[in-house]
């Protein structure tokens, strides 16, 4: 009966489940904290993000510490969340490190205009928030700050929309890089993929096919 009903509506159950699922943006990202007061004062008071939800619970399942889990509103329905595990000590492997590997894990919030980015910069400076230099990247301009836990947080302005050319270029770049990674894994030879130039060259050889070979180079 179900099959008949779905056919009569012009689609089947399998069509429904073959449709790519969609996401509607970020609900929350979450990190552990061992600095409850400083974290709340930083996000709620210095940044001004409303504290919108908190859970306090006995640890479950067995062995899980009792905990607090709390959320700050970061706009457009998104939140940034923290866990505070009661009676625990921060493990050594979560200590902040002066490493790109460590700061690679970060949250970046969006603002819509250059004025908003400037207002944020002024607010953060006025609040004495530790900041890194403002950076103009290819398609974004960003402020960077360090929260009391040592986590990096970014506020960014996208300077132009992504286009289909960006997406196609991203695929070309990463296809070229994955081939090099495959080669590295296959040979175990670190020189197979030890600098970005190889990616650029692989990509260049593919792109060369798009341009007519008869067109020479002006001397």
């Amino acid at each position: 009966m179900l099959e008949l009903l779905t056919i009569s509506k012009g689609f089947s159950m399998s069509d429904q489940f073959n449709t790519l699922p969609v996401l509607a943006g970020v609900h929350h990202t979450a990190r552990p904290t061992w600095k409850l007061r400083e974290t709340i004062e930083f996000y709620r008071d210095k940044l001004g993000l409303p504290l919108v939800h908190a859970i306090s619970a006995r640890g479950w399942p067995e062995g899980h510490p009792d905990f607090l889990h709390f959320f700050f509103d970061s706009g457009q329905g998104s939140t940034i969340a923290f866990f505070y595990y009661i009676g625990t000590e921060k493990p050594e492997y979560l200590e902040p490190r002066p490493s790109h590997f460590y700061s690679a894990t970060h949250t970046a919030w969006r603002v819509e205009t250059p004025d908003e980015l400037e207002i944020w910069r002024q607010r953060l400076e006025a609040q004495g928030v530790p900041m890194k230099p403002q950076v103009r990247h290819e398609v974004i301009e960003s402020l960077y700050m360090i929260d009391p836990n040592g986590y990096m947080v970014e506020i960014t302005l996208q300077l132009r929309p992504f286009t289909h050319h960006d997406a196609e270029d991203a695929s070309r770049t990463l296809e070229a890089a994955m081939l090099l990674e495959d080669e590295l894994k296959r040979t175990g030879n670190s020189s197979a993929f030890d600098c970005i130039d190889s990616v650029w060259q692989n990509k260049g050889r593919e792109l060369q096919k798009l341009f007519p070979s008869s067109e020479g180079v002006t001397a």
Binding site: R136, V139, H165, W200, Q201, G204, E215
Partner: protein, 85 residues
């Protein structure tokens, strides 16, 4: 042998194209499928300040791809020469 770089036809990399158009012995083709090809029979050299690039964009200037080898990529000078055979 020659050298080429491929520049995605987007605003942030456009100075590479406008710079190249004023260089003698340099050919600029395209865009084809969103890429502009900049070629020279001998070498290509760019200056960061002439391009108006901040460091983050400068060090990604070849992300479009290249035929050749980078022989200098300092704070202000990028030079690409033919691959060695």
């Amino acid at each position: 042998m020659s050298v080429s770089i491929f520049v995605l036809d987007v605003e942030e990399f456009r100075p590479l194209v406008t710079n190249a158009q004023s260089m003698s012995g340099v050919e600029v083709l395209g865009p084809v499928n969103g890429y502009i090809k900049i070629s020279s029979a001998s070498f290509l050299e760019f200056n960061r300040k002439s391009l108006g690039f901040k460091p983050a964009v400068w060090y990604g200037a070849l992300t479009g791809g290249m035929l050749g080898r980078v022989t200098e990529f300092g704070r202000d000078t990028l030079r690409i020469e033919p691959e060695l055979r």
